[in-house]
Structure formats: structure tokens, C-alpha cells
Symmetry: C3
Subunit: 380 residues, 3 copies
Amino acid sequence: MSLLWKEIRDSPMLWLLLAVPVVFVAASVAPEAHTVLFILSVLAVIPLAGLLSHATESVAAKTGDAAGGLLNATLGNLTELVIALTALRAGQYTLVKSSVAGAIVTNTLFMLGASFLLGGLKHHTQEFNRANARLQAGLLFLATVGLLVPSAVASRDSGSATDVLHKLSLGLAILLIVGYALGLLFTLKTHREFFASAEHAETEESPWPLGLALSTLAGVTILVALVSEVFVESVQQAAEVFGMTPAFVGFIVVALVGGAAEMASAFSGARKNRLDLSVGIALGSASQIALFVAPVLVVLSYVIGPTPMDLQFPPGVVVMVFLATMTAMFVTNSGRSAWIVGILVLMVYMIFAMTLYVLPDRGHEADPERVGARLGSVPW
Amino acid sequence: MSLLWKEIRDSPMLWLLLAVPVVFVAASVAPEAHTVLFILSVLAVIPLAGLLSHATESVAAKTGDAAGGLLNATLGNLTELVIALTALRAGQYTLVKSSVAGAIVTNTLFMLGASFLLGGLKHHTQEFNRANARLQAGLLFLATVGLLVPSAVASRDSGSATDVLHKLSLGLAILLIVGYALGLLFTLKTHREFFASAEHAETEESPWPLGLALSTLAGVTILVALVSEVFVESVQQAAEVFGMTPAFVGFIVVALVGGAAEMASAFSGARKNRLDLSVGIALGSASQIALFVAPVLVVLSYVIGPTPMDLQFPPGVVVMVFLATMTAMFVTNSGRSAWIVGILVLMVYMIFAMTLYVLPDRGHEADPERVGARLGSVPW
Amino acid sequence: MSLLWKEIRDSPMLWLLLAVPVVFVAASVAPEAHTVLFILSVLAVIPLAGLLSHATESVAAKTGDAAGGLLNATLGNLTELVIALTALRAGQYTLVKSSVAGAIVTNTLFMLGASFLLGGLKHHTQEFNRANARLQAGLLFLATVGLLVPSAVASRDSGSATDVLHKLSLGLAILLIVGYALGLLFTLKTHREFFASAEHAETEESPWPLGLALSTLAGVTILVALVSEVFVESVQQAAEVFGMTPAFVGFIVVALVGGAAEMASAFSGARKNRLDLSVGIALGSASQIALFVAPVLVVLSYVIGPTPMDLQFPPGVVVMVFLATMTAMFVTNSGRSAWIVGILVLMVYMIFAMTLYVLPDRGHEADPERVGARLGSVPW
């Protein structure tokens, strides 16, 4: 317990933990104060994500290389998964999908770009392990193809098409999960020597004892789930107050909040000229969400959602995910970086953010007729 | 003749030649047994494709380097060409187009991916000649642009647009054939030293005497044409029986059947750690179909088809060809491979196959109104 | 003055300067002779562009490295900017946009491809500086994303959407200009050592004295503006006479005319085996138009245009710009070239040119209903 307390004292971000009890009190006292609840829940998720990430790493460090790597890779985006599951149970599929797509794009562009920029401002040029970057970019590309194709075939006749789309989405989800598992097999087992540097660095901070780590993992996951509930309930009204579209909230705000802890590690790695670590976290996290979190959500939607969720995204979102993947493929190709590369990647992200911010609320769930009209305009 | 017989005895695949007489007997006895005829004709095409391929290589080996290379490159996809010509004469343009697009995608993804996987399962990492891979990928990209643009400009007003599309398709076809010819000039003449390893390996099996090779070439081509006729007539009804869409049959089944012989060589090359050979066959074959077979079919449609054929493909097909080309560009970029690369490429193929299998029958020719509706939904 | 005269005598292209007075006389004598005026104005712009380019380089050479590079980079596409401004003031936004997109595509494909081809016909293989090529391709990619996204979100409901589109276009324009400025900072200041070879070569011809250079710059800019006015007024009727669509004229003809001077330098560099120079001019010019000229036009449209101009391009144009950027990324990736690479790039350009030539006149401004119908068919 004193170790957990030391952790909290050392890391200023963890003072935000104070927001956790406040959000629960506020939610029961003033359930209609959506804007306040939204802000509080965002503030509360950030430190919880940090604790979750550290606890996962600690468990991974204890359980040895292969199992640890597996655990780390599987629970690395637990925050995003829990938030998405909460939205899934509430049937808010637009929020689920935009937060999944947003997490992919934010990790690929914002986390990677800011790492390049922060590292580049300190070091003239930086080198990183191409093998890992290329593999992660390749897996990301595979997932993008999986997202792109069902969206491309979605047809106008909504009758039988929905059924077809659900069957296809389930099949693709299983395929992507298999791909993810094989990717882990490759990096953790058969060809681990290519990924040495990235792996080593991840357990850099002193790990917690196993008991503390496991109980933190369990406890914090529950807290994240509870806070997520407040977040999901308040997000739509709060977004309207701030003049943000739901798409912007899911795509940008949720993604930045959910990835805060990983970003801290990626940025600190870049400053220390360990760009391998940063690239590994950014692209690894993006490909994990695309190949594991998103498919798992599709499969779980059959169990816990009101109706099955498909993998169809609005065309604009597909274009963004595709362009983000292309950007990652392009900039990691040379294995070298300087600050301008970071600017370039960040600007692609800013173009997306700007577009989503300005966009009228396509896909607003409260207005099914508009959604219908939008689906009708899907171009294939 | 005894050489031909030895060939047949040594290669178990050639026992399938027994299906050739059977298919002709069956076609005249029971012309309505579409499912049986379909299966028999598929079985019969596979060994014929193998013989055709060996005969072409034997003639090429006799006629010396430049002419031989030219011959090999031109007749390498003779099976696909003959099947497509048969479908063209029957006016089944959807089948023609989907078999062309399918052959490109299947060679680029299935043949390449399975080579990487089979090679990678035996060898930890493999290297291959990047120069050839890059050139073939570049030619493939050129052809993809040629396919993409007319499909992108196809407009809603069907009146004058059809005319424009035909003019454009013919022009592009000629352009692509010129590009193909210049590509041969480059690899066989001006810069042949860059492609040494790939070329050398192609004439690995002991060549036949010229007379046998030439008569086999002639005789087998005729047999393929006759079997193709049975195949084209039976494919639609058989597909319905198996619950497959015509798109799936053209795209996947025909492509796998037509490419069986080349696949055998590519896979055996990969197992022998001669990945140059595999990559050369897979991408070379894909770019040949895209730059030579498809344009030749457009030109010939003016001579033998009921109406001219254009180069417009449904948007979903264009997306698949484009993504297949991008995949090839990406994975051949490093000149190195391991088993996960094969998995990645194969999974992209499986996503396409799954989508086409599940898809309702867009582009079904028996239903012109639906086709009209589809064309109306072309997005540009 | 005698230096200017020497320049004119030495360079046969400059004899075309005789067309300048002729065009003004013709415009006042026969303002209805659109075809003649069109041809004369094209002929007159070519040598003026050459003088402008030489004058800019001379000023740049005098003012020292950083300031000179900045000046060179900013005024390098002055001809294109002046022509576009004239069309902007006349409210001919389709011409403005297609000339901007055409300049990007023409520089990326025609100038780069012809340089590779001309160099490759003389030298077996050529090498060039990948760092610069990759940076320029990256900047071009950034701009393409900026063009692609607003076109992707353009929605059917034209009411509020126009407003949104204008806000978005203005925001993106400012973002791209900032990106351009940072790119200059990188190449001219913080990482100039990577771009040494390309920069050095640009001031190869003997520079003029500063006074002559400055007055030429001022005088010729005015002449270009005056000639552009004749050009813009005559282009539509002349295009109809020649059977060319306005899209073809803006995309191909204007782009070739405006870039004539730079092409001369790029081609001569390629023949001298200084491919760094050619690639730098071609991609540098393309990225300058995309990141600087186009955004500046958007901003200026608020000041001098009849209505604000947005960054929305027809989908076909977006596809072409995107494919041109992909081509540049692909072919510059290896840092090596041979003649077939030039052929490949040129053929992509020819596919575009052929398509635009054959295309019915989408986007014809004289027919607003058709434009409306087209916008309605924007696919997102």
C-alpha cells in the first residue's frame, strides 16, 4: 500500500485520482449536470489509465517473458476496451465505433507524431528499429483492409444487407483476432530476436509486487468501468454544450483520454532518444486496437449489446483510418526521423481533427432519419 | 510421346488429365448436369494448365534468351487468356472482368502470400531480389491506375457515357500493352543484368524437344478452349447450387484453377529458398494479366465479342485490386520475408474472399435491372 | 540591358517574347478571335515564365543563402500564381482549381517522369538524394490529405454545408501554409546539410546583377498578369474549338505552359546526370503549389474573389492527385532510377490526360444545373 502511495506521490498526474470519488458523488447528487460530469469523468480516467498501465506491466514483469509479453499486449488497451464496452452495453454504437477508429488514428498519428517531434527537438536525427515498425504497420494495414471492405460493400437495399453485413463482420472479427494472435506468436516467440530492443525497454520502471499489481489491476478496472458509465451518459449533452459533434468527441477526446498513460511513456522514450520504444508503443497500441479490441467488441456485441454490432464505418472514417495507416507506413519506412517528420504526422492529425470539429453531426444517434439518409449515401 | 507419357507418370497432378475426355462425354450425354460439368471442367483445366506451362517453357528454352523470355512472358497466362476469350465470345463480360481482376488479386495475394508462408515455415528469414519485385509492383500499380480511372469517371447519365467509356477503355488498353512491351524490353534487353536470378531459374525442369513442345502447345490450347466452353456454360448454375455468387466464382475459383500450374512452381521455389523465383512468378504473372491479358481482351472484344467490352469494374473490385497492389508494394519493399508476412498477405486475400462469398449477387447478368441499379450507384 | 539582350539571344525559347506585344495588339484589335488569342497567350507565357524563373534565381543568389532560398522557394511558381489569381478575380473557380491540381499532377508526374526518362536514356542507372525526395513527397502527401478530406466530407445538403466547407477550407489553408513554412525552416536552416546537393545546383547559370533582376521580376510579373488576362478570357471558347474540355485545359495545358521554364531546368539536370536537381525541382515545385499556392489562393479569394473559394475538388481530381502522390512516394523510395521508371510515371500521367480529354465536360461553369447534379453525386 505504501508503494502505491509512493507511486501516487511521485507522479503528479496521479493527483487527478482525487477526481474519482468526486465524480461518483457528483453523479449521484446532480445526475443532470452533464457538462460537469463529463469533465470530471475525463479527469478521473486519466490517472486510472496510468495505474492500469503500470499494474499490467508489473504483472507482465513477474510472469516471465512470453506470458508477460502476452499479458502486456492483451491488456495494454484495457482502458479503451472498458470504455467501449460500457458504450456497447448502452447501445451507443456510433460512440463505440468512433472511439475505436479514433484510438487507431490518435495512436498512429498523434502519439507517433508527437514522439517524433519531441524527440526531434532534442536530438538532431534519430534512428529506430525498422523491423518492428514495419510489422506493426503491416498489421495495421491488414486491419484497415478488414474495416474498409465491409464499409465498401455496404449496399443501398437495407433489407437483406444488414444480415449480410453482420455475418461478414463476425467472420472478419474472428479473422483479425487470429491475425493478432499470430502476430504475438511472431514477436514473442518465433522471431523475438528482431524485437529485442522494444521489449526490453517496456519494463523500465521498478515493478510492483505481484499481489499489489493484481489487486490494482482488478480494482482499477472496476473503477474505470464505473467512471466510464458516467462518461458515456454525459458525453452527448456535454458535447453539445461545448459545440462539439459526437464524432469529434468519440474520435478525438475519448481517444486522447484513453491513451494518456501510454502517451506519457512514448513521449518520455522519445526524449531519451529511445525512439524504438515510442514507435513500438504508438503503432503497437494502434494495431492492438484494430486487430484485437475492435473485433472483440464485435464478438461481445452478440452477448451484451442490444443488437449485434457490425464493422461498418462511415466512409469519412474509413478514409481517415486508411490515410493514418499510409502515413505510418511512409514515415516508418526509412527508420530515421527528424522534427519535421513529427510535424508532418501531427498535421495530418490536425486536418482530421479540424474536419471532425467543423463537420455537421452526421451519424447523430438521436436522429434516426438522418442516419438513414447518411447510410443511403454510402457510396458503394 | 514417351517423354510426354513420362511427364504424366511422374507428376501426380497429370492423372487429372483423365477428366478431359470425361468432361466431353458428359457434356454431350448430359448437357443439363451443370454441377457435374462444372466440377469436371475445373478438374480438367488444372493438368492442362500445367502442360501448357511446361510446353511454353520448353519452347522458350529452345529459342534462346530474348525470344524465349518474350514467348514465356506472353504465353505464361495462356490458360487465363483462353478461358476469358471463351467467356468473352459468350458475351459474359461480368465473368470475364471478374476472372481478370481475380487473377490479378489471386496472384498478387494468394500466390505471393502462400510462397512467403511456405518458405518462411522452412527458413527463418528469406531474402529476395528487390529490383525485380519493385519493377513488377510498379507495373502492377500502373495497370491499377489504368483500371481505376475509367471506373472513377463512369458517370450516371448512361447515354453518351457508354461511348466515352469505350473510347477511353480502348485507348488505355493500347497504352497498357505498350507499357507491357517496354517492361519486357527493360527486363529482357536493356537492364537484364538486374533480373538474372529470376530468369535463370524458370527453365529448371528438363525441357522437351521443340517438336513435342510446339505440338503440345497447339493441342493443349485447343483442349483448354473446348473445356473452357463447358466451364463457362455450367459455371452460373453450378455456382447457384453451391451457394456461391458469380463474383466469387470468377474472382476466386476461376483464378485459382487457371493459376494452379504457376502456383506449383512458385511454392516449390519458396520451399527451396529461391524466393526470387516465387516473387517473380507471382508478381510477374499478376502484372502480365493486368498489362497484357486484360487490354488484349478489350481489343479483341471489338472483333469477337457481341459488343465492345470496356475497362470499367465495380468499385468494390477496383478497391480490391488497388489494395492488393498496395500490399505487394509494401511487403516487397524490404526484400526480406518471414512467415508472418505470408500470413499478413494471405489474410488480406481471405478478407476479400470472405466478402465476395457473403456478398449478395451484385452484377448478376441475368438481371439487367439490378445491374442498372448498381451502375447507378457507382460513386463518382 | 545588354545582359538581358544576351540572355534573349542565347536562349532560343526567348524569341517567343515576340508573341507578347502581338498578343496585346491582337487582344485590342480582335477581342473575339478567341482561338488566336489563346494560342498567342500560351506562346507569350512560356518565355515570360523563363525570365521570371531566371530573375528569381538571380535575386536569390545575391541575397545570400537563407533569404535567397526562401525567395526562390516562394516565387518559384510565380507564373502559376499569377495565372490563377487572374482566373480567381474573374470568378472562374473551376479553372483555378483545375490549374492548381493540374500543376501538382503535371510536376509530380510529367516533369519527374520525363526527367527519369531523359536521364535514363543517356545513363544506365542514376542515383539521387533520397532525403530530399522523401521530404518533398511527404509534404505533398500532407497537402493531398488536406485536399482529400474536405472533398470527402462535402455532403449532399448544400444549405449549411457550403458554410462549413468554407470555414474548413480556410482553416486547412492556414494549416498548410504553416506546414510549408516549417518545411522551409527544415531544409534551409535546421537540417540544411541533408539538402546540400539540390540547393547548390539551382544557381548554376551566371546570375544577373541585382538591379536588372529586380526590375525584370517586377516588369515580367506585370506582363504575365496582362497576358494571363487574355488567356483566361479566351481559354473556354478556344477549348471548345479544339474539342478540349475545360478540365483538360486547366489540368494539362495551363500546367504545362506555367511550368515550361522549370521543366527546361529539370530536364537539363537529368541529362547531366544530376538527378538530385531534377527531382528537387519537380517535387519541390509540386509541394510548393500544394502547400503554398493553393492555400494562398483560398485566403486571397476572401479579398479579391467575388465569393470565397473552398478547397473542394471533384472526386476524380482528388483521385488523380492522390495517385500522383503515391507514384512519387513509390518511385523515389529507392533513390535509384532507370528509363523504365520514367516510362511508368509518364504513363500514369498519360492515363490521366487521356481520361480528361475524353471526359464529357463535368464541372462546366456555364451550366450550373449540371454542376449541381455533379455535386449531388459527390460520393461521401
